[in-house]
């Protein structure tokens, strides 16, 4: 459903130009949860912004459900890392979630119902009338996820979504992501710099190199489900995969047996 071919991007020009993406080819099929992991500053966000249509890449093309991405696509939602700057502080939680739904042609009542449903899915049914700043960081990020869910996108992009919350909340949100993907037939692209997280959450882990980013690894994660923070993380396959991904991220050669 998502086809990225030979995507390149360079910021600026001349001697100060920064080459962020060095030719990315990636295909994601419907319903997949793909984690993109790479070292800090490698161009992960540039990739995400190109897919979201927030940035016009200097080369290559992104095709979403058969249509090349030029503007921000209709059935795409983003969960940003910085929830406090993504949710609107002057609106209640319910309004934050239902505002984008007007575009989907939903009436006032339907919008309110959709917002409520999404809040229930993220376990925040009681927070509809609160303002985002009345909630803790983890809860605000849940609201962001609820907003994306209510929008019912074909593709959900998550940009380091759990980077600004504490470890406990992070685990909760990882499990939440695994849970909600089952509700809708959503394709999810999650960008992270956390190697464990990428293996724990993803069906597939795509590893990027340092800038200019290229794909240096594409691993399928076949862990027995349902995944669980304790058991999954001590499973031999998990341990092997995280080592594998870790080596790739640090730019080491991998053992040939497991590279695919």
């Amino acid at each position: 459903m998502l086809e990225i071919s030979n995507l390149t991007h360079t910021y600026g020009s001349g001697p100060s130009a920064h080459n962020a993406l060095g030719g990315i080819d990636l295909n994601v099929s419907e319903g997949e949860l793909v984690c993109i992991v790479g070292p800090s500053g490698c161009g992960k966000s540039t990739l995400l912004r190109s897919i979201a249509g927030l940035l016009r890449p200097t080369g290559g093309q992104v095709v979403l459900n058969g249509a090349p991405v030029a503007q921000t696509p209709d059935d795409l939602a983003v969960v940003f890392q910085d929830y406090s700057r993504s949710l609107f502080p002057w609106m209640s939680v319910a309004d934050n979630i239902s505002l984008p739904l007007r575009r989907k042609g939903e009436g006032r009542k339907q919008r309110a119902r959709s917002a409520m449903e999404a809040l229930e899915q993220v376990g925040l049914a009681g927070a509809a009338d609160k303002y985002p700043w009345e909630l803790s960081g983890g809860m605000q990020q849940r609201v962001s996820i609820a907003r994306a869910l209510a929008y019912r996108p074909a593709l959900m992009l998550m940009d380091e979504p759990f980077g600004s919350v504490d470890a406990q909340t992070r685990e909760d949100l990882e499990d939440l992501t695994l849970r909600v993907r089952g509700h809708h037939n959503m394709t999810i692209l999650l960008i992270t710099h956390d190697i464990d997280e990428s293996v724990y959450v993803g069906d597939r882990v795509v590893v990027l190199s340092k800038a200019p980013a290229r794909i240096v690894g594409d691993l399928r994660v076949d862990l027995p489900g349902p995944r669980d923070q304790i058991n999954t993380r001590e499973h031999p396959d998990f341990v092997r995969l995280r080592a594998e991904v870790g080596r790739l991220v640090r730019g080491m050669r991998t053992s040939p047996a497991s590279a695919s």
């Binding site: 927030l54 921000t72 795409l76 983003v78 993504s86 002057w90 575009r103 700043w133 809860m139 909760d172």
Partner: protein, 285 residues
């Protein structure tokens, strides 16, 4: 919930118990206002000691004010004919001028703030216009429009539009980039972006501008009435000056001071209400 308890700034404003909070309110008012009677007493002593006709004592001024403006029937809140002849027109000018300038300033400000191209062309004009002291317009406007409401309103609007305009430009230009990107990703329409994102995000700045404009509007209202008017507080001030009636002159000054104080207080109350999200959001993040 496993998360840490969310901060709830709403509950912090109320104090527990009925009568202690009432007492505390009185104590707060006293601690804030005690300087006023002290200043009045000092003023009284000073003016009595100086004993010049130019500086009448506060009691003389108060008596004069009562005589001029507060000798009407109780059904009219004791306001005299003279008061009703002069206060409402002044207030009407002040509010009409301020409101016109506010609307125009916000509309133009959003346009200039969101359009780089427009801002590039219009910016020099804005700064040129802002640099002109508004009272300077009066000699130009009098032959142009003749003395009257139109001229007064023009003076006020021209004088008070700048803080609103410049603040709105600033607010609309620097809407958080991620808020705008969120609006783009979720496909908000042009109208939604304006009404639900750009304007609310700019309100703190807009209100700061409106507040400055309000006090400027009071000043310009008086100035426009000094020169070209047949009624209003400024007109009365001028009349008292010509009639060599210092207590009446001082009376008008006191009324203007009180008016400015009350307007600022009222504006502050509205601002607190409209911008409650802003204050709370700033406290918690």
């Amino acid at each position: 919930m496993k998360h840490s308890a969310p901060a709830s700034p709403k509950s912090s404003g109320t104090s527990p118990g009925g009568s202690p909070s009432g007492l505390r309110g009185v104590a707060r008012a006293v601690s804030r206002l005690w300087l006023v009677p002290v200043a009045l007493v000092l003023w009284e002593i000073g003016t009595r000691a100086a004993d010049t006709p130019y500086f009448p004592s506060p009691t003389t001024i108060a008596v004069k004010m009562r005589e001029m403006w507060l000798n009407g029937p109780a059904s009219r809140l004791w306001l005299s004919d003279l008061a009703l002849e002069n206060f409402p027109p002044s207030l009407a000018r002040l509010f009409a001028g301020w409101a016109l300038a506010g609307v125009a300033g916000i509309v133009l400000g959003v346009m200039l703030g969101r359009s780089v191209l427009l801002a590039r062309f219009v910016d020099p004009l804005v700064h040129f216009g802002r640099a002109i002291p508004p009272p300077m317009l009066l000699p130009l406007l009098i032959p142009l429009m003749s003395i009257g409401t139109q001229m007064q309103l023009t003076t006020i609007v021209f004088g008070v539009i700048w803080p609103v305009l410049l603040n709105t430009v600033d607010g609309a230009r620097y809407v958080d980039r991620q808020h705008m990107e969120t609006a783009r990703v979720f496909g908000l329409s042009w109208g939604q972006r304006l009404w639900r994102v750009i304007l609310p995000s700019s309100t703190p700045k807009i209100f700061a501008g409106l507040r400055l404009s309000l006090s400027l509007a009071l000043i310009l209202m008086v100035i426009s009435e000094l020169v070209g008017s047949t009624n209003g507080i400024g007109f009365q001030l001028r009349a008292a000056e010509r009639a060599f009636d210092p207590p009446a002159l001082w009376g008008a000054i006191v009324v203007l001071g009180l008016l400015g104080y009350v307007l600022n207080l009222a504006f502050f109350a509205i601002e607190r209400r409209v911008l409650s999200w802003h204050r709370a959001a700033k406290q918690t993040t």
